[in-house]
Symmetry: C3
Subunit: 238 residues, 3 copies
């Protein structure tokens, strides 16, 4: 029988991968109009950049947030599958649109390079995970995905199992004066993930302080369910 994978030539759409989250980046230089009509994009660009992963939603959204800041592209779709390969959270499908293939390729490369930073405050144990994100200036991806006001500081505090996220959110919001944008939970604002997640906005120092306070209590609570949670990359929120 013919080997269906007999060629080692690279597909031109391919940009790169990262082992973390089983992440792949691709670019379609000129999307077929019949397909574009069926894609679930907020705006129809001829050029698409694609970031797709089995594990990770926050890290990929924050990485794309940096990418759209630095390139001439716009977020046109963020969809969160209920994945993580048996874990409690999401994977991600993120599409950016542009006019020039080199812009889209650059955006996807910037995003891939940012993952080692944005995974820095993702802590995993056998029982669950915790995730923290912070940016002093939210851009298009944080706005698209979480309703974060652009140009202002934004923070995410997320725990699994979900109840840990409720307690972390309470601690965080009591710690500093921030705006509570929303609270996401298995039935609301997630794809039935087992996560409790508060989205906060406001003054940069206050948002950072709230995120760090949530992290401190979350690490203790998740540790009560067994092993100490560990991150794969150095923490970036300090």
């Amino acid at each position: 029988t013919k080997d269906l994978l007999n060629s080692t030539s690279v597909v031109p759409e391919f940009v790169g991968t990262r082992e973390i989250g089983d992440t792949i980046g691709m670019v379609i230089p000129s999307v077929d109009p019949l397909l574009l009509d069926q894609l679930h994009v907020s705006k129809k660009y001829p050029v698409l950049g694609i970031l797709s992963a089995r594990s990770g939603a926050g890290p990929h959204i924050m990485a794309i947030d940096e990418a759209v800041k630095q390139t001439n592209t716009e977020v046109v779709d963020i969809e969160l599958p209920r994945d993580t390969k048996g874990g409690a959270g999401h994977g991600s499908l993120i599409i950016v649109g542009g006019e020039d293939p080199s812009d889209a390729r650059q955006a996807i490369n910037v995003a891939l390079d940012n993952l080692s930073r944005t995974f820095g405050d993702v802590y995993n144990s056998a029982a669950g995970h915790l995730e923290f994100q912070f940016t002093a200036r939210a851009s298009g991806a944080c706005n698209f995905a979480f309703g974060a006001p652009e140009g202002k500081a934004y923070g995410l505090i997320c725990g699994a199992p979900a109840g840990i996220g409720v307690v972390m959110a309470d601690t965080a919001v009591k710690t500093a004066s921030v705006n509570v944008l929303s609270f996401a939970s298995p039935k609301h604002g997630t794809s039935f993930s087992n996560e409790g997640m508060v989205h906060i906005s406001g003054e940069s120092g206050a948002v950072r302080q709230a995120v760090m306070a949530g992290r401190e209590v979350g690490l203790k609570l998740l540790s009560e369910l067994g092993d100490k949670p560990v991150n794969d990359f150095p923490s970036y929120i300090k």
Copy 2:
């Protein structure tokens, strides 16, 4: 680098854990009003008790059903993530409200203590699982989650993969005269779990008999897919 988990002090919100289902119980003695506005609760209480698990929905709901019977608390949220760590079912996020932190703490402790009973008729194999629940007198949690009439007998018959639940339900309903409250399946009344689940109500003896008849056929069907399903705790429905 600073160890983010350098303190062994217990978080005051922590109540306890159970290994089964990776379950954690917590109490927030005075929830932040900004957060409370964003939580998805049916009624705003100042005190919240939280039961959260990676695996288990029925067992936790039945355990909370006992807890609200025995304490001065009320169920204000039940959300079922699509979890079970790669299994076919749900985890759970359950919130009870109260006026007094000691009531909420007692409720969560009662629920944690009931899990070894309510997991008694959960049977797992490599191919799927079966779950059976029965109470002679349903209370607030069964009503909130499944629409069970309070004060009447309630039974749950659940199988995964979902088709097994259809056949069990048919056998159960033919065995005794019961009311069929609803049938939950991957697209209806679940969070896309691979479960078929009938909720029944009625006279106590009839509901118990129906549940036991469903269990008998379910154990045989799931066994056709490989190993004999086993429970982690003694069966309580007899």
Copy 3:
């Protein structure tokens, strides 16, 4: 304590199993009317045939498509749990209705026998999966599940993580002149699976050519995430 599984007698509803996908087939010769009222079926038949699996949606739908062609039965329910035992895709609950138990039993047997064909172009790796389906003449199951026009050729091109499906779809649609019925993604037309999936229809040769072109690019892209994806049964689309 009494062994709840002390009998080896076969349940009369049991038809058969297949190891692939943890698939079980069953028939209810005369469904209880109280239960039938609560089932989520498009039409109420007295006889139900049931195909249920932990892993596999496309393969089971295509297998049922053959079954309803060959028997006097009709598809009345297709529901796709978010399952695959930690994988990125769906399981399935499929119900066919009929007037005669032997028709329903035959339908389920035909479907079970077709799985070794319809799983032929499902390729798995540690990082994800690819699925391809093709029929020269779509019938009731393809129509029910995917809106495929009956009697015309239908093709499915699916990749996980979802972004791979976007690029495969673009390649496929550019390769041959086909109708794009829809594009399914984590938030649209799936149960939050991590899949990108295009449904195409049209002239038989064109649909087959488009599916094969999508397959070629998909195998290369998924291979970039690690191992070469492999199928458990021989490819049938050639």
